[in-house]
């Protein structure tokens, strides 16, 4: 094998427009993180390593046999369930929640893995029942969502569990859940919402309330939200310039490297920066959804759509949160936030999507 064939082999299945857009986002994210970390280089260095590992995963998945992904689905799902149980028993506690498993060199966040394995499992399941999709099948799919959802919710990690719920429900929706049923359950949820409210923890209630009227308690629960909006608003049209965000450097902003990383970006690069980044994200989103429509079988279609929606629910919730449209929930911005699990999972998802797309005609046969 000479160099060109190796190159061909590696890049053959890559979707170049998609990969290009992602590389661009990763680069911007890395540059932004240097500022968000108050110029502490060590975090940016490990972010680079996370990106590298993620890219390796992307290439590996992209070039593997699609059949393997299909066969792997139930096993991956069971493993995730096991990890979620494990994390609730022996996980590392931080900010009052048990979310991480200490693996020595890095901490693993099983709820992040779920963002791949749940759509994978659902797609596999619907593929199995592809000729006979009825209420029973939808019900079982609901159970498949509920099990890991419960395990994440008790960590407690309300934000992530809501994302998983939405991601999972969209897959069921795409698989053809009857419209009548959707309407009925919508009203069911509306009626039961007071009971759900009572099971929420105090800080979760405060966050939701602070969204409805952030100014009612500007210095309590709304603190993070307001500081973020000030940072964003401070950015103006062209931004304060890289490394020049006062809100960041004076440390008014919380969690600048993870959940509020985009506030830093907004303050330093302004509206045009935000517009550019969102345009790239929209391109990635649109490209992935377009790929989903091109798929020939239930499994691929549901999986590509499921993964894409999972990623972009995170994204919209995060950006909605930092601009004050949504309550403060601990959700990372894909391809942008500091965090190994999230980075590797996001890039792996893209790897799966590219793999399915490049093999779409193969599977159909």
């Amino acid at each position: 094998m000479n160099l060109t064939t190796i190159q061909n082999y590696i890049f053959q299945k890559l979707d170049r427009p998609l990969f290009g857009a992602i590389t661009l986002i990763l680069t911007i994210g890395l540059i932004n993180l240097i500022s968000a970390n108050h110029q502490d280089v060590s975090n940016s260095l490990s972010h680079t390593i996370n990106i590298f590992i993620g890219i390796v995963f992307l290439f590996m998945i992209c070039n593997s046999q699609t059949r393997n992904i299909l066969v792997f689905a139930p096993w991956a799902y069971s493993l995730t369930l096991f990890l979620l149980i494990y994390v609730n028993l022996y996980g590392i506690e931080s900010h009052g929640a048990q979310r991480w498993i200490n693996l020595g060199i890095f901490n693993l966040q099983p709820s992040e893995i779920l963002k791949i394995t749940l759509p994978l499992m659902l797609a596999w399941f619907y593929q199995k029942c592809t000729f006979n999709i009825n209420y029973k099948v939808h019900f079982v799919a609901g159970l498949l969502i509920f099990l890991p959802l419960y395990l994440v919710a008790i960590q407690p990690d309300l934000g992530t569990s809501l994302l998983i719920l939405f991601g999972g429900l969209t897959v069921i929706f795409l698989a053809g859940l009857p419209t009548r049923f959707i309407i009925i359950s919508f009203f069911g949820l509306l009626i039961s919402s007071p009971f759900i409210w009572n099971t929420l923890l105090n800080y979760q209630k405060e966050r939701i309330l602070s969204l409805i009227d952030p100014l009612s308690d500007p210095y309590g629960a709304g603190y993070q939200s307001i500081q973020s909006i000030i940072a964003v608003g401070h950015g103006g049209i062209f931004g304060r310039g890289w490394l020049n965000g006062e809100q960041t450097s004076l440390q008014f902003l919380p969690e600048t490297a993870t959940d509020f990383v985009f506030s830093v970006f907004s303050e330093e690069f302004g509206f045009f920066g935000v517009l550019s980044v969102i345009t790239i994200y929209v391109f990635i989103f649109y490209r992935c959804m377009w790929m989903a429509t091109k798929m020939q079988d239930t499994f691929s279609r549901l999986l590509v759509a499921g993964l894409t929606i999972s990623l972009f629910i995170s994204l919209t919730v995060n950006i909605g949160m930092i601009s004050g449209l949504l309550p403060v929930v601990g959700v990372p911005l894909p391809f942008f936030s500091y965090g190994g699990s999230s980075m590797v999972v996001s890039l792996t998802s893209i790897g799966i999507i590219m793999n399915l797309y490049s093999n779409k005609s193969l599977i159909a046969n």
Binding site: E93, T130, F131, N132, I133, N134, T170, F173, L174, A175, G176, P218, Y219, G220, Y223, I226, Q227, I229, I230, A231, V232, G233, H234, G235, G236, I237, E246, Q247, L250, Q251, F252, S266, G270, F271, V274, L275, I278, Y281, V282, F285, Y286, M289, A292, T293, T298, R301, L302, A305, I309, F312, T316, I319, G320, S323, G324, L325
Partner: protein, 606 residues
Amino acid sequence: MDKYYIKFILRNRLNFITYCFLIFFFLIILRFFYIQILQNTYYSTQALDNSIKVVPIKPARGLIFDRNNIILADNKLSYDLEIIPEQIENLSILITRLSDLIPIKTSDIDKYKRILKNKQYNNTVPIKTNLTNEELAKFVTNSYKFPNIELKETLKRFYPEGEVGVHYLGYINRISKKDLITLEKEGKKKNYIGTDHIGKAGVEFQYENELHGVSGYKHIEVNATGKPVRTIKNFPAREGENIHLTIDLKMQKIAEKEFKNRKGALIALDPSNGEILAYVSMPTYNPGFFVDGISHKNWNQLNKSPDKPLLDRVINGLYPPGSTLKPFVAVAGLENQLRLPPFKINDPGYFYISDDSRRFKDWKIGGHGEVDIVKAIAVSCDTFFYGLAIELGIPKLNKTLANFGFGMKTGVDLPNEKLGLIADAKWKKKKYRKNWYAGETAITGIGQGYTQVTPIQLALATSKIAYPNKSMVPHIKLNSQQLKQTANLTPPISISDKTIEWVKEGMENVTEDGGTAAFIGKTTSYKMAAKTGTAQVFGLKKGEVYEEEKLPDHLKDHALFIAYAPASKPEIAIAIIVENGGHGGSTAGPIAKKIFDYYLTSKNRK
């Protein structure tokens, strides 16, 4: 449902979701447009003029009292001038300007630099502490000239008794980088965000969690320079717990006074429950030195002094027990059916294992004549215990010693207790790669050789003779539930009543006519059971004679004394070591008497 129907639905619904997302993206862009462009001026002034900052509130540290509610560790209000080092461009100019108003000494600047080295992120550093009223007034009227200097009201740890009882009380010091790492590992760092100090020794260290309390925080509005404008919301801190100690401060002071300038240790406890009444380690030092970070000079003085004032001799001082070990050796013998009265030996003043071995001398030239086990304790007959130890052998002897708690931690609620040592052949082989000699067994019987004990072990063992059927852990915190539980877990030692009776009789006879501390017994209104001891600090070479007058002070024998009283119903037990004090009875004995007089003569008690 056929395949095409599914595909149709799917495509429709895919489009639906895509549109939903696109609409949401559009909303987000509108939102950013609104905040960043339309509202830009508003948010820019918000960012520059006033911002909200979270400021931690440190909890007031719990106070420490003695058993009679006398305060041992207090908090005193202090006014300090503090600065954020990052905001100061030229420190020396600032100090010169400030010096016109308030005298700034070089020691203040040294202190500032020391604290700066270990600073936590974002914290202010004091440049001048403990302002006098006059200085305070001067600064307040001129504060507008010093926008970067913050006047802070803080509670400072204050030890009203100064050097008294410093070893059990301990001290607090500024949080070091090392402490921060430990706190982070234990997940307590968040609670220490506003705290500058942490317990470093004694009770201040042991009960850090209780004393520290829970940090609070407040939201304050600050302007662009970071100066607070007003407080918006307050989440108050939870104060640390107040702690009562078992210590009787009056007794503690009497004990420390009685030591005069001599080095050594004393521990008095209630033998029925393990409450520590007095806890002396001499020499002492002033814990107040540490509160603001100890200066280099003071630290060197303390650390390098040959008298080792920082050493807590009660739990960390290792001493050869000398003859104070004899009552416990006697228990070992009697429990193994050896030397049961009326068994007697005739003491010629020396002992030898076999005809050709060296002679082991008794302290009394010419010997004690006819000696049974009771008399052997009373007159501290070496010859008797040489033979007993040889016949018993090390394993049986050590078993009894371990029963009394020698060679292991007593479990006292103070940090870094030492184990002490009861040696055997295996230990010697490992340590020196040499075999154990019979002669070493013999001298172990009189408390010489390798055996090392801490004063607290001696006091605990003495209490166990006073009350062999009670299980307890010596402790310094009054009414500690946790300690009561651990005490219940340690079973009392099982010794036959007869054995205890004989050993008690021997110890009671120590203060009777003919006993080694008879002169003390003559002056007390209660019956005291005791044992004297003299421990060699260095070995005499063959043929050398111990001549106290000729030896330099630091090579003189240690004086030891253990006792409990009243003999019929013990209320207090004591162990005393006076370093280089010579004979135990004559040096340490009178100290014990003073303590017992105070405690047992009712007019002194509260």
